[in-house]
């Protein structure tokens, strides 16, 4: 029988719940979820994980990952996570936030949690738009990008320039690890996974704050096919938001 010769190479991680997601076709949130789920399994973290979910398309993260979770108000996930981690220092705590959530309304909370060196990890999904509310401008929206609130395209003199969060977070004293990956190609997904793992390790060994930005597609609000969205990440986003590790204290000799 042919089945006997088949080798299973790809399966659902235990930490990922077997149910259809609510995301649009081609959305990268699902890939980001899967990467986190794989790592929770691989690093044996599911039972000590306390997830802090935020506001945006990903608010239902807790429906897809099999770990305890608390829901934060818009932008405040890093503060909620600070409270969780201070209250339960032995747990593994991560936030999962979109660009509107993290770089706009929650700018203060993310900066200060990083600067304090909170022993937590942040998964930052940057799709250059407010997805859930219907495609308004985000702080990361590219110059010229048309959104429902920049109908003529984002203009630097009127709306400012897209904010590069990883660079900012890397500059803060409490940050142990900061990196930017992308979810548009298999190679980039694999690299992103490595970054996430590193960020998680820095929390587990108590070094400091770990931050991973993931350049992601929102085909619905970009009004593109999923494949065109992947191309856009390559052609427009990566040149402005370069990929790579921006801070890694294991190479620098430690924070604090």
């Amino acid at each position: 029988m042919s089945e006997m010769n088949e080798k299973l190479v790809f399966d659902r991680p235990d930490s990922v719940i077997d149910r259809p997601t609510h995301y649009c076709p081609g959305c990268h949130h699902g890939i980001a979820h899967r990467l986190v789920g794989e790592l929770l399994d691989e690093m044996d973290l599911t039972e000590k994980t306390l997830m802090v979910t935020s506001i945006g398309c990903s608010v239902f993260l807790y429906n897809y990952l099999n770990a305890d979770a608390v829901e934060a108000p818009h932008g405040r996930a890093p503060a909620v996570a600070t409270g969780v981690k201070r209250a339960r220092p032995d747990s593994f705590v991560f936030t999962y936030q979109g660009d509107g959530d993290l770089a706009s309304i929650g700018m203060a909370e993310i900066m200060h949690a990083a600067n304090r060196g909170e022993k937590m990890s942040v998964v930052f999904v940057n799709n250059t738009v407010y997805g859930m509310t219907g495609g308004q401008m985000a702080p990361t929206t590219m110059i010229g990008q048309v959104t429902t609130t920049t109908p003529a395209g984002r203009c630097q003199t009127h709306e400012g320039a897209p904010i590069r969060m990883t660079e900012i977070i890397a500059s803060l004293g409490g940050t142990a690890f900061a990196a930017r990956g992308a979810l548009n190609t298999v190679a980039n997904i694999k690299k992103s996974r490595k970054y996430l793992k590193k960020a998680f390790e820095f929390q587990l060994n108590g070094t400091g704050f770990g931050f991973v930005e993931l350049l992601s597609g929102c085909p619905t609000n970009w009004k593109m096919t999923a494949l065109a969205a992947n191309e856009r990440i390559k052609d427009e986003m990566i040149p402005y938001f370069p990929l790579g590790v921006y801070k890694d204290v294991s190479e620098e000799g430690g924070v604090c």
Binding site: Y62, E71, R76
Partner: protein, 356 residues
């Protein structure tokens, strides 16, 4: 009876901090604002010594959300602030109410609106008793009138927060916070520090089912169900009201006042009693739930009422709601920005007594 050497001489703010530590508060999140700074200052060293943690947050918004996180993980936690800071905490307080997260929040009310002044005032009564944030919710609210009471009610606040899974607010002002009085500290027994064991997010250790602490209810009817559940909880608090009655039995005129003003009104009552005038005091200690039934009983005995507040008339609404089928209440406002004395209250009380 407490011995003299059991007593300590402390400010109201410090009494609250000590009460929280006696109640085994393990996390404190603060942001400086006058007149409550003694609380975070005291906590910054003492809670660490007690094996807990202190964070000076980047803002009141962050402090309240840290509180949300600690409370959601089932740990006894507290924040304190004053009026504009409490306004910033309201979004998180609404989320805590919606997610049924226990926590203790102290508001040392100062004068407003806006930046106002840092002196005592009671202008946050509506905000404190109506659910100052968005949506349909209430939380337990205490209005202590003495430093000892501030200590006692803080301990009680933690118990209620966990038993009822609700944020509990302690509403004081600069008089209470800055005044020093002797108090007898005491340690509550049998505190269940793992009280959240059946609902809090603590990690799925041992492979238990995952838990969510959230306030989002999207399915058809789910939010209505949650609101029904919350309302039933708030209704059940009616049996938990507290009030002090002083010389009310034979009184013709009852002063209604809470917190520091309640205490000043009590001095005025004493003075009137010396002159043989039948004045009494009704001082609500729980501001939400409001002790309506007790007040109504007094109204049914034919008594008259004068509500005195350090604001332009807020608790007055609750007094009127309580007694509306039998009586009404006069009102004397002390304008925020002024420091009231018992003498100031004499004239309006006299006027009421004489039916003018």
């Amino acid at each position: 009876m407490s011995k003299k050497n059991d007593r300590i001489f402390v400010k109201g703010n410090e009494a609250i901090a000590r009460g929280a530590l006696a109640a085994k508060c393990k996390c404190f999140f603060g942001y400086p604002i006058t007149p409550q700074n003694d609380i975070p200052e005291y906590m910054s060293s003492e809670i660490i010594k007690a094996g807990g943690d202190f964070v000076q947050a980047e803002s009141e918004v962050a402090a309240a959300n840290m509180l949300l996180g600690a409370g959601a993980s089932g740990v006894r936690a507290m924040t304190s602030s004053s009026s504009p800071g409490i306004a910033l905490k309201q979004e998180a307080i609404s989320y805590m109410a919606g997610s049924e997260i226990p926590a203790v929040i102290v508001n040392m009310n100062r004068g407003g609106p806006g930046l106002g002044d840092i002196g005592p005032a009671q202008g946050d009564y509506y905000q404190s008793t109506r659910g100052g944030g968005h949506g349909d919710y209430r939380h337990f609210t205490f209005g202590p009138g003495t430093v000892q009471e501030a200590y006692d009610l803080t301990i009680k606040a933690f118990d209620i927060a966990f038993k009822q899974r609700t944020p509990v607010l302690i509403l004081g002002d600069a008089i209470l916070g800055q005044m020093k009085e002797p108090i007898t500290p005491w340690l509550p027994e049998n505190i269940d520090e793992e009280a959240g064991r059946d609902w809090a997010v603590t990690g799925r250790t041992g492979g238990r089912e995952k838990r969510l602490v959230k306030s989002l209810f999207l399915e058809e009817g789910a939010l209505a169900e949650q609101n029904r559940h919350l309302q039933a909880k708030y209704d059940s608090w009616k049996s938990m009201t507290e009030a002090e009655q002083f010389e009310t039995e034979d009184a013709d005129l009852i002063l209604c006042a809470y917190g520091s003003i309640g205490r000043i009104a009590k001095s005025a009552v004493r003075k009137f009693r010396k002159d043989g005038k039948k004045v009494g005091l009704f001082r609500p200690i729980t501001l939400y739930p409001f002790p309506s039934d007790e007040l109504k009983e007094l109204a049914e005995q034919g008594k008259r009422f004068l509500t005195i507040e350090h604001n332009l008339g807020q608790m007055l609404d609750d007094v009127r709601l309580a007694i509306r089928t039998v009586a009404d209440s006069d009102f004397y406002p002390i304008y925020p920005g002024n420091l009231p004395t018992p003498d100031e209250l004499e004239e309006p009380i006299l006027k009421c007594l004489e039916g003018k």
